[in-house]
Symmetry: C2
């Protein structure tokens, strides 16, 4: 499913192409998060317009609402939400483990109570793959145990080893089930091991031994320092097969993404662009801005002239600030559109520079300007 | 500014054209309400796409936020919100009078406290026209006293007479001030008189004596029965000059609008399509539906195949229901888009049938189907 197209001559950055039955994904790629079957405040046609190649859904959320029954009868998530391009689904493990006292973990899986109505449910590795079959995602993520942070070496080892046993069960479940709705459904393994390189190596060895369509680096961006994250990412990509896609889950800031592209990551997702947008925090090609700041009251500058995008170019910062101050829904729409357009621009531009052999220079210059603009 | 283009042979319905420096408005027309400089949850390009000819702004809201200072420095509301077509502004009187204990009325005007921060303000007829100059609306509405309902004949007479004295002051204020931002700004008088025909006649006589660019029928849809409203509308349009536009303020349901088009009204505005949309209540060409209703859980039907519109045709009712149940912003966007598209379709189709001489037949058949569909 993955074709490596170019290697940056000055770093581990690489460009590639993931082929699915719902279309191709050019990497490096940012994947907008559409937890409940919608990227918050953005229309599907706007995602296409901004150049999104793939979006995320969340198994936990979609399982509870609208439910497997609805998704199955509506022909899967693509058909349900009218999105014809690829979809990757998180296993929902992260959400289930976040329920804490509403969740009880065993070797078999996780029993939990719904955050919506308190109803009782059980996610095993097999069940989670079955739900993702029903969703019809192009890329299904395994159920793994989310290692808490910080964790001792012992804790991280036990947790990782359980995740690897679950990975094996997920693989078997995938092999013993059929893709739904006429399109292939790939499965990605998830490396764990917290910040311990030996455990990360063991985890990747176990996963590649089982064999998956692609590999994610999980359990990062959970509170550790950025430099530690970069170090673990570099260590992991050095061990992962070059011929398959690498996905760093839940990362991150523009800087995080560029640093990890440089270290060989192909795929990213993060709620930051849409969540921050709803808090009036915009990412622009010249740095971050907070539209609630009074200095934008009379600011006739468009949101970001560096982007070819409806929201970015057609409205002043003063207008968007007014919409936020007046609690208008259009504020959320325009800000979310802009931030997603920015993240898509970021990975698309990184890709162009990888092909041109200018990635590291561009990255350094871009981040210098971005940081300087943010500090103002 | 108004050209009468066609009279329905079977009723008082009429088609016309209002010419402003920001473009033409084909009547009958529904005007989406954009109180705070945005039609809630709808992008400006989407309003154009759906065929909106004119939108409303609200003087009270825009005066408090973003303020005259911001609007003036940004070149007026058109420029501020990037809307190049016509804008009509309500005087804000209705909002000020709704403040009740926060408002003190005198012959000179209304003193009130802001609903946002409690700050003290004063709206006189002259001041309200000055603010609308600053907004740069193509059609400015006079400040009038909103007669409470029900009112005795005496109360309604005193209130109407004050409004007529204010109308004269507004006219003088308009004559003694210049249009802003290089485009003409028309002023509409507002007939009052509650449900009393003699007072309505006196009010219209007073307004036409002063002379305005167009005339509104105010003080209706405030709690009176629909039949009484229709009767007062018919009485009013019978007295208003045929050569000028007639605007029925704050009305209403699809049926209200068609009944009043039949009685000679040209322009309508109402928050109903956007407000109801946000409560999951949709107007379709086949009747009203409530998407929270469980019967739509597996409903693969598009919102409304009778409309050529992105939101109406590209998503199932089951999907939109899911978005509402999951509290997703996209629910508000798609539902608002659809309802506004429906209201614009309604007045556009009425206009076509007026030209074709088939308005009354179409109206009867449409309402029969719409009502039957709603009753299901």
């Amino acid at each position: 499913m993955f074709t490596l197209e170019a290697n940056d001559p000055h770093s581990n950055a690489r460009a590639g192409r993931i082929t699915t039955d719902h279309g191709e994904i050019c990497t490096p790629i940012f994947m907008p998060v559409g937890t409940q079957g919608t990227v918050k405040a953005i229309e599907q046609r706007e995602l296409l317009e901004m150049g999104a190649h793939i979006i995320l859904g969340n198994t936990y959320h979609l399982y509870l609402r609208p439910s497997e029954e609805v998704l199955s009868r509506m022909g899967g998530l693509h058909s349900f939400m009218n999105w014809t391009k690829p979809i990757l689904t998180d296993s929902g493990g992260f959400q289930v483990f976040s329920l804490k006292e509403l969740m009880k973990l065993s070797e078999d899986g996780a029993a939990f109570s719904s955050h919506i109505d308190g109803s009782k449910h059980f996610f095993s590795p097999e069940r989670v793959m079955e739900i993702q079959r029903c969703i019809g995602s192009d890329i299904m993520m395994l159920l793994d145990e989310c290692t808490s942070f910080p964790a001792t070496h012992d804790e991280a080892k036990r947790s990782m080893e359980r995740s690897m046993r679950w990975a094996k069960r997920c693989k078997t479940a995938v092999e013993n089930s059929d893709a739904r709705y006429g399109a292939r459904q790939f499965a990605f393994g998830i490396g764990q091991g917290s910040v311990f390189k030996d455990l990360r190596a063991d985890s990747i060895a176990a996963l590649t031994d089982i064999g998956f369509d692609g590999y994610a680096i999980g359990g990062l961006a959970v509170g550790e320092q950025a430099e530690i994250m970069y170090d673990i990412v570099e260590h992991s990509t050095g061990l992962l097969p070059k011929a398959q896609a690498r996905y760093l889950m839940g990362v991150g800031t523009p800087q995080n993404i560029l640093e990890c592209i440089e270290r060989g990551v192909d795929m990213f997702d993060c709620v930051m662009p849409t969540r921050n947008a709803r808090n009036a925090q915009l990412f622009t090609t010249k740095g971050r801005i907070n539209l609630r700041n009074a200095k934008h009251r009379f600011d006739e500058t468009p949101i970001d002239t560096g982007l070819e995008n409806y929201a970015s170019n057609n409205f002043s910062r003063a207008y968007l600030r007014h919409l936020f101050m007046a609690d208008e829904i259009l504020a959320l729409q325009l800000a979310s559109q802009h931030n997603i357009a920015f993240y898509l621009w970021l990975t698309r531009t990184a890709r162009e520079h990888i092909f041109a052999g200018t990635f590291t220079t561009w990255k350094r210059e871009f981040l210098a300007e971005f940081t300087a603009g943010t500090a103002q």
